[in-house]
């Protein structure tokens, strides 16, 4: 039997940090110990809810949540309980979507004895200090824009012929009063990681698929 091809990898052309899809990753930095609760939404519906303890001794420094694989669906939130998660302080939690056509957003609430506060609402924006990464597969020129600051950038994705290369070498872009660098060339299949020094909402779109730069 032929194995199923993960077609979303090749079909995705638009990304939005406010609506996470395949090939996109949002990384939230937890730099304050405490008890948190994570709410995962697909569209308008909450499809998952789980607790997170930050600062527990011996806990891992990184937690990866595949939003497409969490229990829950559009009719129920998967809130039936469970053990929750724990990470160190500081620690990182990444949210990504492994398959499918759904678009997800994440809200994180910090709870104390006396109050609760929202520390992340990805549908609105990415807080300062967080990261947003996208794996660009299709060759072409991508337009990048930050809806909060209005900053723009361009990424040219190349597919070299006859040359074997590693996919696991991401490129870094700093976002602070503009993208640095604002023009970037990467090889297809590698991740581009935006480190947000300001609050941001990043959108990426394949603007010109025919402008493939080949070596």
């Amino acid at each position: 039997m032929r194995p199923a091809l993960n077609r979303a990898i090749f079909a995705q052309r638009v990304w939005d940090s406010g609506a996470l899809t395949v090939l996109a990753t949002l990384v939230h930095v937890f730099d304050e110990a405490g008890d948190y609760e994570i709410f995962v939404r697909r569209g308008e519906a909450i499809v998952h809810r789980v607790t997170l303890a930050v600062g527990r001794d011996g806990a891992p420094r990184q937690l990866d949540l595949d939003l497409a694989a969490l229990p829950g669906d559009d009719t129920r939130c998967g809130c039936e309980g469970g053990d929750g998660y724990a990470i160190s302080e500081p620690g990182l939690v990444s949210f990504h979507v492994s398959r499918g056509a759904g678009a997800y957003s994440v809200r994180v609430q910090r709870r104390t004895e006396r109050h609760k506060e929202w520390v992340l609402d990805s549908a609105e924006s990415i807080p300062e200090g967080d990261l947003f990464a996208v794996v660009l597969v299709r060759p072409g020129v991508y337009a990048v824009a930050d809806k909060v600051s209005g900053a723009e950038a361009r990424i040219s994705v190349e597919l070299p012929r006859g040359e074997r290369y590693r996919m696991d070498e991401p490129a870094m872009v700093e976002l602070q009063k503009g993208f640095d660098p604002s023009e970037l060339r990467v090889l297809a299949g590698r991740a581009v990681v935006f480190r947000c020094q300001d609050r941001a909402r990043i959108g990426i779109e394949l603007a010109d698929e025919t402008a493939t730069v080949s070596s």
């Binding site: 199923a4 794996v135 597969v137 590693r166 991401p170 299949g189 590698r190």
Partner: protein, 305 residues
């Protein structure tokens, strides 16, 4: 002095040997799982050609005997490794830990591919034997062994009576090693390329997959873990790992020396057939010996128990 002497000249000897040689059949099948790949074979061979030379030193030489493969199927299955994009780790400033990115893989599960070409047309080997003629007595009262090594090699069933058998007893057997030509390597590469490319749609998807794996040839060599040509790798497998060369060597030896006599003399020997009124006339045969010189094979025997 023997009571009976029979001489068989070299030409007649050759004819008898030809009849026996034509009955030779070798068939074998085996497979192995070697982790990232699986390799198996299904083969069948017979013998053709060759000339026999009776030598003055009481030995014979059977040379330039061709091993012809009527079937030499090789089944190669590969587990294609994960083909994924993304991944890698990024260095974040202290006190933040480094962050490692997720990967997205092209297939839901690792795909398997396999091909099964028939390489019979590309392989040719020669075998030659030297040895002497020996006499062995077949006693019908002795029960057969629990595991009969001649079960698949015997041309005719064991006789229902005692018999003096004259066998070729090879002392040396030279068999060419399996040596697949370059074209076999091309055959495998082309075949695997076709099945791998059939897994993935064309256009940008295929371009990206081929960038990930290098080329299909690179992928095959990585999975098989071989620096050399596929044909050399396959030859080593047949000669060493599967032991097919040694097996064929043993089968050829057993065929002539143990399982199929060249000539047989019944004991007792019927010299007059039965008639409507008389039983057959049979004489006991004893002390059978065989030798040869450069011209003929000589069989000597005594009459009587």
């Amino acid at each position: 002095m023997a009571h009976v002497t029979v001489a068989v000249n070299e030409s007649a000897f050759q004819s008898s040997l030809e009849l026996l040689k034509r009955s030779f059949r070798f068939a074998a099948a085996d497979s192995g799982d070697f982790g990232p790949f699986r390799l198996g074979y299904d083969v069948e061979a017979h013998l053709e050609g060759g000339t026999v030379d009776l030598r003055a030193d009481n030995t014979f030489e059977l040379k330039e005997l061709d091993v012809r493969w009527s079937r030499l199927k090789v089944k190669l299955g590969l587990d294609i490794p994960s083909m994924c994009v993304g991944g890698g780790c990024i260095d974040l400033p202290w006190p933040l830990p480094d962050f490692c990115l997720p990967r997205w893989c092209l297939f839901e599960a690792d795909p398997d591919v396999s091909i099964e070409p028939d390489l019979a047309a590309f392989v040719a080997q020669e075998v030659s034997l030297t040895g002497s003629l020996v006499v062995r007595y077949f006693d019908v009262t002795v029960p057969p062994p629990a595991i009969d090594p001649c079960a698949l090699l015997r041309v005719v069933p064991p006789p229902p009576n005692n018999r003096w058998n004259i066998h070729l007893d090879p002392q040396t057997i030279d068999l060419d090693l399996f040596d697949f030509p370059d074209i076999v390597g091309n055959l495998f590469e082309d075949g695997l390329t076709s099945v791998i490319e059939a897994l993935i749609p064309g256009g940008i998807v295929r371009d990206l997959v081929l960038v990930i794996v290098g080329s299909v040839a690179d992928l095959i060599r990585d999975i098989l873990d071989i620096p050399d040509e596929i044909d050399e790798w396959l030859s080593d497998f047949f000669n060493v790992s599967f032991g097919l060369h040694d097996l064929l060597l043993q089968v050829v030896g057993d065929f002539f020396s143990s399982c199929n006599p060249l000539y047989g003399i019944d004991d007792p020997l019927e010299i007059l057939p039965a008639t409507s009124t008389l039983i057959p006339v049979r004489i006991p045969i004893a002390n059978v010996a065989v030798r040869n010189d450069a011209n003929e094979m000589i069989i000597e025997a005594d009459v009587g128990a």
